[in-house]
Amino acid sequence: MGIRFILMVNKQGQTRLAQYYEYLTLEERRALEGEIVRKCLARTEQQCSFVEHRNYKIVYRRYASLFFLVGVDNEENELAILEFIHLLVETMDRHFGNVCELDIMFHLEKAHFMLEEMVMNGCIVETSKANILSPIQLMDKAS
């Protein structure tokens, strides 16, 4: 099914956003997030962007203080996911302007709206920034 989860975690290991596309109990999530964060945050810039963990492959990318971690299964193309992360960041950037960790933190709902336009059921649904952002813009106008 492709993407299993998307996490945004800062370098202190605090989760800023978590979106799962398969059901895990809270305990499972806590354990999984803990393990993954420990593994990925310890890595250096010179190491590759892929980490194997349990049945997942974690594709991750760091932007300043924030790590974007995407858990995928064997059915995904790692580099495509890596660039999908970048697309997500660019989309956020287009909306927030110079997006930073605080934007995502304080606009959790908007981050979720964007993600919801981009990924559904673990599959990529839209890659055009204009299309992704149009519902949010509509709403901003309305309010």
């Binding site: 590759c48 495509a80 304080f106 649904v125």
Partner: protein, 1048 residues
């Protein structure tokens, strides 16, 4: 910094952010939860805006990892809000907090449906997304047609249709029947003609899911996929918004090529040519550029193209291009590309002919084994493991060994296991194998499992020319000051058996050997001491003429452990002590271990299990599957008992690979660990246990392994019994008998069946070769059984067939049963059952397999019996009596006097009823000799239907009783009545005492429609219960002529 529209939420988030530690954060969260809880309780006080705010807070708290056990209802209720902002929050938060099985989700199903079929397209999008993310089976059945309509509707805008595509994908996964293959394949092909990239991207994911189940039905999509790819590759008609760093949607390109990999070949020459042109262009035209994003995106496409070329096994010209590219990639500095290069090269091993080319890169790959990045090291190790064969095994294993000492913890176990397996599989000679394992234990003892040293013992025992070598080697290792306990075990074992071969060498006299081993004893754990004691006993036996001093020393050790608290040690000490005083008899008893029978390597098995665990790159497995056989090393002589076997030089024998099984079996490790399949020996001697551990560490280990039962050697047990051979003979005879007959089931099949009628998991059938276990879950009229087919042997079971012969009232679907069950493997076969209508007929599993020359074909009744579709229900008198009265007389209410009942106290009968999920309702019938029970029966025809049962017994004669059964369905009433009757007259008893079976279906109770006593009873009941309850039964008994008939 701009605050979001919800101030309270922002304040809360920044409060959390300012918390200095986890404890303060928890306090703040608890306070907030308390606050929200109060607000929600006071329903009226919260406006939609407030609700929205609180629901976001809950999501935020949940995301932080705190359990939130309320608020779900509020989130769900927002879905029905009329305004978009609230509705949106309701949808998004619901899909984050709930899962498909949550009850609240059902509450929303109507709203969701209305939104989907409604006119508001933003609402449609929200609803489709929710269903796409968390919709379950119920949604699948009720929404699939609407979703399909939206997806193909030309009047619908792309933003709705793209979501409909992925929503349908979810529904399809929940219930594949919602997509009608015949009708849908054309529509799917049409979808691929779309211009819109959103629709194309999501439709391509849908297509991949459909193809993975059944590519045959979607051949028509193949040329369309190629067209899409051409369009992208030529950059024709690609909107700017979908171009990423100059590359036309890399994601759609990748997905399209992924879809194409589900077709086995491309037959149409034109399509094939077009595709290869595109692929060629990608392979040739991808350059390394400075911009990271562009580079990644183009390489994402390139790697996918490589995978597709490998899959299509194209003209060899393109394949060599692929290998060349991969060779380049594994040498680059960029870690991502190197990682993927290694990964794809491992995949490429599946393609024949290229292995020699890949071997040219061995040095480069070994460099990556030392990379600072563990992800890359893992890939390199996997690739080395996969490309290893006889020609390069020595180099590769030595590299792994060298790396082992510096490797990090996380990888040591994997490294040592892989080294051990490669050494075993591809050993050019056995002494090298022994060297490797000894080095392994020396360098990474903690990571060398017992299986590994057991295997060494097995080889050494079976190969006489290896024995001296191994003894010399371990003798060298025990000289080291601190050695790993596993090394102590192995060397003690080998020196015990074979140190006499070294007796003339310096430092190898029995006494010296004893001393050096005995030095280790204080450092080892209790599990090792028994092995040391055996070694001492063996040394003693080999010391001829006896050395009184050594004898006394060893006897003193035995004496010391005779009172050891550990039973195993104590028993050995006592036995060895007694035996070693027997003098000459000792020689026979402590003789050398006989050769081990051929068996599959426990290691290789373990490796396969661990591969399943880690879901590692499946290339190795796949490759093995292609080759069908693996070059596992086995010792050829199979009959150690027949005189002197030829000196077992090691030979490479093709044994059937365990790897060529699908997902089912790879799960076996897990289930076996859980103990779902309990493999029980006794086994006939032709199929000795593969459980080396048991063999080596069993209490009687020293006198022989299991197959010793057929050896002419005296048995240790008999020695202890004072020379009586009775015990040994009995041991020896039993299995031989078993062998001479055709395959006999173990245990009573009928009893097993009856037991399974009452419980949901257990063994359905077992014989010396196979065990069939069953595990069932029942929900209303649905049942899901899993058959566990466990091969108990070290040889595969072939020609396995399982046919279900369902009775007409059951719809049963058995998943594919593999034709071969590999040695020691367990296969799980799910079986879906739907109960259409009430019936007592029983489904039969017609099972057959071949083992050697035996064809075994048991026909087994499956416990999908009537009572499995019952759900216990407790009814109150207020519910019972009106119901009982309204079901007046046949055919809805039937009564019968049953004779030949197995006498039992009423309590026992009540237990029996409860066991069949008929809830006994105590107190409903005041007569202590009577019993009333209720239950709900489920089937497609009847749906949920209440059944009521009344049993009247006669304390004077427990072999007969009167039974009245009532339900809203005539067939159900009659079947249930007969079913209960069967249970009462022929209860399976363990002793199998012949139960008095009455002639079945004797018209004991003539139809009495005119004066149905039940109806009379009901009338009486209703009245009397209200007015004078105690008379309940008295009145009934007196007024009922049937009772007299019964008493006669």
């Amino acid at each position: 910094m701009a605050l979001s529209g919800m101030r309270g939420l922002s304040v809360f988030i920044s409060d959390i952010r300012n918390c200095q530690n986890k404890e303060l954060e928890r306090l703040r969260v608890d306070k907030e939860l308390g606050n929200i809880r109060t607000r929600f309780k006071n329903e009226k006080a919260s406006t939609p805006y407030e609700k929205k705010k609180y629901v976001w807070k809950i999501l935020y708290i949940y995301m932080l990892g705190y359990d939130v056990d309320f608020g779900h209802m509020e989130a769900v209720s927002l879905i029905s809000a009329p305004k978009y902002p609230e509705k949106q929050v309701g949808y998004i938060v619901t899909s984050c907090l709930l899962n498909e099985n949550h009850d609240f989700l059902r509450l929303a199903i109507n709203t969701v449906r209305n939104d989907i079929i409604g006119r508001n397209e933003t609402f449609q999008c929200l609803a489709l997304t929710l269903v796409g993310n968390i919709g379950g089976r119920e949604f699948a059945e009720s929404l699939a047609p609407d979703v399909q309509k939206l997806l193909i509707s030309s009047s619908c805008r792309p933003l709705v249709r793209k979501k409909a595509a992925l929503c349908l994908l979810r529904l399809y996964r929940k219930n594949p029947d919602v997509v009608n293959v015949d009708g849908w394949s054309d529509r799917m092909a049409q979808l691929l003609d779309e211009r819109d990239f959103g629709i194309l991207t999501s439709s391509m994911s849908l297509l991949v899911a459909l193809l993975s189940n059944n590519h045959e039905a979607y051949w028509s999509c193949l040329p369309k996929c190629v067209k899409v790819l051409e369009r992208l590759a030529r950059n024709q008609d690609v909107p700017q918004e979908y171009t990423y760093y100059g590359i036309p949607s890399p994601w759609l390109q990748v997905k399209t090529m992924r879809a194409l990999q589900y077709f086995p070949t491309i037959e149409d020459p034109n399509t094939r040519r077009s595709l290869f042109e595109v692929l060629q262009r990608i392979l040739m035209g991808t350059d390394v550029v400075k911009n990271v994003n562009k580079n990644n995106a183009s390489h994402a496409v390139l790697f996918e193209a490589l995978a597709l070329v490998m899959h299509l096994d194209a003209e060899k010209e393109m394949m060599s291009q692929c290998v060349a590219l991969l060779g380049k990639f594994i040498a680059v500095r960029e870690p991502n590309i190197r990682y993927l290069g290694l990964e794809n090269m491992t995949r490429m091993l599946m393609v024949t002919d290229v292995q020699d080319i890949i071997k040219r890169h061995q040095a480069q790959i070994i460099t990556s084994l030392k990379d600072p990045d563990i992800s890359i090291r893992r890939r390199a190790l996997d690739l080395l493991y996969g490309m290893c064969d006889v020609s390069n095994a020595k180099d590769i294993v030595e590299e792994i060994l060298q790396y082992l000492s510096s490797a990090d913890f996380a990888m040591r176990e994997e490294l040592s296991l892989k080294a051990a397996i490669l050494a075993e599989k591809f050993a050019p000679d056995l002494s090298w194998y022994v060297d490797v394992i000894l080095q392994l234990i020396d360098k990474a003892g903690d990571f060398v499992s017992d299986d590994i040293w057991f295997r060494v013992v097995q080889f050494v025992t079976n190969n006489e020319d290896l024995q001296t070598y191994a003894a010399v080697k371990v003798r060298e290792y025990v000289d080291k000051p601190a050695i790993h306990e596993t090394m102590v075990k192995l060397s003690a074992y080998i020196l015990g058996e074979y140190s006499h071969l070294l007796a003339r060498r310096p430092g190898c006299s029995p006494k010296e050997i004893f001393n050096i081993i005995h030095e280790k004893l204080p450092t080892v754990s209790t599990s090792t001491i028994p092995i040391l004691l055996s070694t001492y006993a063996k040394i003693l036996m080999h010391t001829q003429p006896p050395d009184p001093e050594l004898q006394n020393q060893i006897w003193a050790v035995f004496g010391k452990y005779e009172s050891c608290i550990d039973a195993e040690i104590q028993q050995r000490a006592v036995e060895y002590h007694a035996l070693s005083r027997k003098g000459a008899a000792l020689m026979d008893i402590f003789a050398e271990m006989p050769k081990f029978p051929e068996r599959q390597s426990a290691l290789i098995r373990k490796a396969e299990d661990s591969e399943a665990d880690t879901a590692e790159q499946s290339a190795i497995k796949l490759r093995a599957a292609q080759q069908q056989t693996s070059n596992a090393l086995v010792v050829t002589d199979q009959h150690p008992a027949n005189g002197t076997p030829p000196v077992g030089q090691l030979s490479l024998v093709k044994v059937p690979s365990v790897s060529n099984v699908d997902q089912n079996t790879t799960e076996q490790g897990v289930t076996q660990a859980n103990g779902a399949l309990t493999i029980v020996d006794p086994q006939p001697p032709s199929t000795p246990s593969a459980d080396l551990l048991g063999d080596l560490l069993g209490p009687l280990a020293i006198e022989g392994h299991p197959s010793a039962a057929v050896q002419p050697e005296p048995n240790l047990a008999s020695g202890l019994e004072g020379g009586s051979n009775a015990a040994a003979d009995a041991l020896a005879i039993a299995p031989v008998e078993e062998q001479s007959n055709i395959v006999q089931p173990i245990g009573d099949i009928a009893e097993r069946f009856h037991a399974l009628c009452l419980k949901d998991s257990g063994v359905l059938y077992e014989d010396p070769y196979i065990q069939i276990g069953i595990k069932a879950e029942w929900r209303a009229q649905h049942g899901r059984l899993v058959l566990f087919l466990g091969n108990k042997n070290i040889a595969p079971l072939v020609s396995v067939q399982a046919l279900i012969l369902p009775p007409s009232h059951l719809k049963m679907e058995l998943s594919l049963v593999p034709g071969t069950i590999p040695p020691r493997a367990q296969v799980q076969c799910p079986l879906e059952v739907i109960n259409l209508r009430p019936s007592r007929d029983v489904a039969v599993l017609d099972f057959s397999y071949k083992f050697g020359t035996h064809v075994v074909n048991p026909k087994l009744r499956l416990p999908a019996v009537l009572n499995k579709f019952l759900q216990p229900i407790q009814v109150s008198p207020e519910e019972f009596f009106p119901q009982w009265r309204s079901l007046s007389g046949p055919p809805l209410k039937l009564q019968e006097v049953v004779r030949g009942v197995r006498p039992m106290p009423l309590v026992e009968m009540a237990n029996l009823f409860n066991g069949f999920r008929l809830t006994v309702c105590p107190g409903l019938d005041p007569n202590p000799n009577n019993m009333v029970a209720s239950t709900t029966f489920y089937s497609e025809n009847t749906r949920a239907m209440l059944c009521l049962v009344r049993i009247e017994t006669d304390p004077a004669d427990r072999t007969q009783l009167r039974m009245t059964v009532a339900s809203g369905d005539p067939a159900l009433t009659s079947e249930l009545k007969e079913f209960i009757k069967e249970q009462l007259v022929s209860i399976p008893v363990p002793s199998r005492a012949p139960a008095p079976v009455p002639p079945p279906a004797q018209p004991v109770s003539p139809p009495t429609a005119t004066s149905d006593p039940g109806a009379i009873l009901a009338g009486l009941l209703a009245e009397r219960l209200i007015f004078i309850p105690p008379c309940f039964t008295d009145g009934m008994r007196a007024g009922d002529p049937k009772i007299n008939f019964l008493k006669k």
